[in-house]
């Protein structure tokens, strides 16, 4: 089987400093991988490479067998959902954010889809009209997650997606993600929570000091 994402001896340097060193790994469709490692070890940088927000300075990344440098970046990113470590909402209202993925595809917002996602996360559809300045950190995090799920991605990259949530909402999000994974969505999830990292994941990727420390199969 062709890996969905394959890293071959990937380095990422910023100036003199090598932030990621000699990364090689293969990720297959439907994988669920938890990514762990100390602060500053390069986890977020790894996800940015997966979403092609940065290019490797050495080595190659293949997406479904094709060199990432030869793919159309915007088309590629449309298939990859990415929730940033610090969620960024833009515009004025939640609706400005949830209509954005439709706008860049020249489509009208699909109210049914939006409401379905709100109900998955057990949020009130009224949120659509809320102003983003009034949202709590946890609300922002879930809105950003919904925003990247409006068009079901093939790969979902989560960077500490539940860091601002209470235990109850964390459970809700974990279950939604597991369901998505069971539907075939590949999940890469950075987490600092040891329990969360082993709960549903199939593999555990530990990054330390910019290098792969271990890749452990779970269960």
């Amino acid at each position: 089987m062709t890996p969905q994402i394959a890293f071959h001896k990937v380095f990422y340097r910023s100036g003199e400093k090598a932030i990621l060193k000699d990364l090689s790994l293969e990720i297959f469709p439907g994988d669920y991988i938890s990514v762990v490692g100390p602060s500053g070890s390069g986890k977020s940088t790894f996800l940015k490479l997966c979403c092609h927000l940065i290019s490797p300075t050495e080595g190659s990344i293949l997406i479904n067998g094709a060199d990432v440098m030869k793919l159309d970046p915007a088309e590629l990113r449309k298939k990859i959902g990415y929730c940033f470590q610090t969620p960024v909402l833009f515009g004025r209202t939640v609706e400005d954010n949830l209509s954005y993925p439709y706008r860049i595809r020249n489509r009208k917002m699909d109210g049914g889809r939006v409401n379905k996602l709100f109900s998955l996360f057990q949020m009130d559809p009224d949120y659509l009209k809320h102003e983003i300045v009034n949202l709590s950190g946890g609300e922002k995090q879930r809105i950003a997650l919904i925003r990247s799920l409006l068009f079901q991605p093939e790969v979902l990259l989560l960077d500490e997606a539940t860091s601002a949530l209470d235990p109850e909402n964390t459970l809700i999000v974990e279950r939604v993600i597991r369901t998505l994974n069971q539907d075939g969505v590949t999940v890469l999830w950075i987490t600092h929570n040891p329990e969360q990292s082993r709960k549903y994941a199939g593999r555990l990727l530990a990054i330390e000091n910019g290098e792969i420390k271990s890749m452990e199969a779970l269960k």
Binding site: C51, H52, L53, I54, S55, M69, P73, A74, E75, R77, K78, I80, Y82, F84, T86, V88, F90, Y100, P101, R103, I104, R105, A144, R147, S148
Partner: protein, 252 residues
């Protein structure tokens, strides 16, 4: 008619005014004496030189020469504007195209409408006003757009990660920057006559033109400054945003 006519001796006496600012600088320890002297000397030398050059060119009545002179002014202004936007790729070229297009469009309308004729003593001063206004507008645009591309990185990367192309991911920033470039011109248009009697109108009145006639010129000037800043700011911002991305649609 009561025209002001400045003799050489009255200019000399007026130059005493420079000493006022020098004295201030000295006693207030502003340490600006050297800069004041240099700027005054530069102003005098540059103006005298340009006075003779203009007199010469006005005498030539040669449209080609007039055009060349306007292009030279555009180049100088572009150079200056580009310095304001250090982070802008191809700043000089973009500024030249934007200022050139804004100036060209406005001058074309003015000439076509018969408001001015394509003769050096009309095109050059009018062009100069337009060009320097566009230069200031571009400087503001560049400052805003570079600052925004720094401070709103996360927002742009978020939009890119959602699959947006580079234009939709930066459109808000582009709009804000165009607005920043245009606002001073709009604001000064709002307060014309209430807060300020603009330099050109003052000059005309001093030279003996009736205020009613001078006002007509000022109205024309206001229109042309508005159109030029609009065209130039718009072009400059739309031409330069690409420079903040690489060809992999990643933020630099």
């Amino acid at each position: 008619m009561n025209e002001a006519n400045i003799s050489f001796s009255s200019l000399m006496i007026a130059s005493l005014l420079v000493f006022v600012s020098l004295l201030f600088s000295y006693f207030q320890k502003l340490k600006l004496e050297k800069e004041i002297l240099v700027s005054v000397l530069r102003a005098v030398v540059q103006l005298i030189a340009v006075g003779y050059v203009l007199q010469y060119i006005f005498g030539l009545e040669n449209p080609l020469f007039t055009t060349l002179f306007v292009l030279l002014m555009t180049f100088n202004a572009s150079h200056n504007a580009a310095k304001r936007g250090k982070g802008i790729r191809n700043g000089l070229l973009i500024s030249f195209v934007s200022i050139g297009a804004g100036t060209g469009a406005t001058l074309a309308v003015l000439v076509a409408s018969g408001a001015i004729r394509y003769v050096p003593n009309q095109i050059i001063p009018v062009g100069g006003m337009i060009i320097s206004n566009a230069m200031v507008a571009l400087g503001l645009c560049y400052r805003q757009i570079t600052a925004d591309f720094q401070s709103r990185r996360d927002e742009i990367e978020t939009k890119l990660s959602l699959g947006a192309d580079i234009l939709p991911s930066s459109i808000e920033i582009i709009r804000d920057s165009i607005r920043t470039g245009m606002v001073p011109t709009i604001d000064s248009a709002k307060t014309l006559g209430i807060v300020s009697l603009p330099g050109m109108m003052t000059g005309l009145i001093l030279a003996g033109t009736s205020p009613v006639q001078a006002v007509r010129y000022q109205i024309m000037v206001t229109f042309m400054l508005l159109s030029t800043t609009a065209v130039s700011s718009f072009l400059a911002c739309y031409l330069c945003y690409r420079g903040f991305f690489n060809d992999r649609k990643q933020l630099l």
